[in-house]
Structures are given as structure tokens and as C-alpha cells.
């Protein structure tokens, strides 16, 4: 499964891997939602450092998780998008819904 989840109960971090398109979004969504519903965290971090490609299906995925987390009174942060992914995110106005952290310390994203 192209998602690695780390959680401390309060913060769920989902490290996404590979290509995020319409084909792969469903499996990623199911993994992330399972972790959210198990822990009801206050913060979901979606880490894009190992995502090599994303189209607007990724925007749908992030917006969908934003809705789920809003329902729980929580927030979504997006970490380490590559320049290509940041470009798609910027176009969508996603930065109004979720905090985007382009290059967190220790990131291998350029």
C-alpha cells in the first residue's frame, strides 16, 4: 500500500508514496481515512516527500481529507510537496484550506 502512517493519537502523519492520480487516489484515501477514524486526531499531516507525480486528483484527495478533519474539529497540513506538486496546489487555491509547508527540516524534497 502506498501510504505509511505514523500516529501519536493527536497527530496522524501519512507519508504518501509513488504517483497520485485518479487510479491511485482510492487506495490512498482508504488508508488515510482508516487512520483518521481510528484515532480522531486533531492534526492530519499529509507528507508528499515521496510523491513523484500528482494531478488534480490529489487536490480532490486533500480537499476530501480537509472535510473529514473539519468534521472532527481538526486541521490538515501538507508537507514537502515538490515544485510540480506545489504548482498544482497553488492553482487550486488549496492554501486557503490547508497549511502548506514546502520544505520542512530534514526533508529530501528540493
Amino acid at each position: 500500500m502506498p501510504v505509511r502512517i505514523e500516529t501519536n493519537g493527536e497527530v496522524v502523519t501519512a507519508y504518501l508514496e509513488g504517483e497520485l492520480d485518479h487510479h491511485s487516489a482510492k487506495a490512498i484515501r482508504e488508508e488515510v481515512d482508516m487512520a483518521i477514524f481510528k484515532d480522531s486526531p486533531t492534526l492530519l499531516v499529509l507528507d508528499f516527500r515521496d510523491i513523484t507525480f500528482m494531478d488534480s486528483s490529489g487536490i480532490g484527495l486533500i480537499m476530501g481529507r480537509y472535510r473529514v478533519m473539519s468534521g472532527l474539529g481538526g486541521e490538515v497540513h501538507v508537507a514537502n510537496p515538490s515544485p510540480q506538486i506545489a504548482k498544482v496546489m497553488k492553482l487550486s487555491g488549496l492554501d486557503r484550506l490547508a497549511q502548506i509547508n514546502p520544505a520542512m527540516k530534514g526533508s529530501k524534497a528540493q
Partner: protein
């Protein structure tokens, strides 16, 4: 402006082919020595157009998607992506950002991404016959000699 090279793809509207289509187009365009950003832009736009054929044109039924890529001696890349699906009744509305008929978690940004990442996007469609999207991008000219 002369066409110096051309390729055609004919694929089934399986979602696994979204990745194949964008990678195949990018591999063909690579002979024009594009920048990493140009290649990323083209891959993203092709992914959006092919996903539209699958999600909207054929609405999860199985059909064929026809892709033609032409390269010109002026460094232009022209990509035609055609389906024989349901067609679009209102193209102007379909191209508006955030408009979608698909529901679920479709963002409604496919055409907005194509328009932002390519120099020109044109759409021809007939209800019941299908849709053709033509994407054009002019690459900074670093054309290698064609063998």
C-alpha cells in the same frame, strides 16, 4: 511550421493507463530536450485529459482513448486526446474551475490545470459522439537533429 515527428497511441479507458499515457507522451516529447518543468507540465495536462476520458467520456464504462502527438520544427508539441464517449453538452461550463459532474472527490480542476500548464487548450465535442481535447505547448527551442 512542419511536423517532424508523430506518434499514435490507442489505449483502453482503464485507470491504470493514466500513468502509461502520460509517461509514453513524455518519453516521445523527450527528443525535443524539454526542461524538467516542461515535461512535468505536459505529463500533468495529459493525465488530466486522459482522466476526463475515463471518468466523464466513458463514465467508468470501457472504451478506447486515441492519443496523437506531433512535434514541429519550431519546437511545438501538439497532443490530441480523443474519446468516443458521451460528449460534453456545455463546453464553456465544463471548463469552469471547480465545475464537475462527477461528484465524489473530483476537484473540478482538470481543464484549469490543462489551461495553466499548456499554451493552448481547445475542445471539440458532440453529445453522443465523443470529445477531442487538443493541447499545445511551445518548448524553448533546443531541437536536436532528427535522425
Amino acid at each position: 511550421m512542419n511536423v517532424v515527428n508523430e506518434m499514435k497511441l490507442d489505449i483502453l479507458s482503464r485507470s491504470a493507463n493514466e500513468s502509461f499515457a502520460r509517461v509514453a507522451v513524455a518519453a516521445f516529447v523527450a527528443q525535443l530536450d524539454p526542461t524538467i518543468e516542461e515535461i512535468s507540465d505536459i505529463k500533468t495536462a495529459v493525465s488530466e485529459a486522459v482522466t476526463n476520458c475515463i471518468v466523464h467520456g466513458y463514465a467508468e464504462k470501457l472504451g478506447r482513448i486515441y492519443i496523437t502527438v506531433r512535434l514541429t520544427d519550431t519546437g511545438a508539441v501538439q497532443i490530441k486526446i480523443r474519446d468516443a464517449g458521451c460528449g460534453i453538452s456545455n463546453i464553456k461550463q465544463a471548463m469552469e474551475p471547480l465545475f464537475t459532474t462527477a461528484g465524489g472527490e473530483r476537484a473540478g480542476l482538470g481543464f484549469a490545470v490543462m489551461q495553466s500548464f499548456m499554451d493552448k487548450v481547445s475542445v471539440r465535442s458532440k453529445v453522443g459522439s465523443g470529445t477531442t481535447v487538443t493541447l499545445t505547448k511551445h518548448l524553448a527551442l533546443r531541437v536536436k537533429a532528427n535522425g
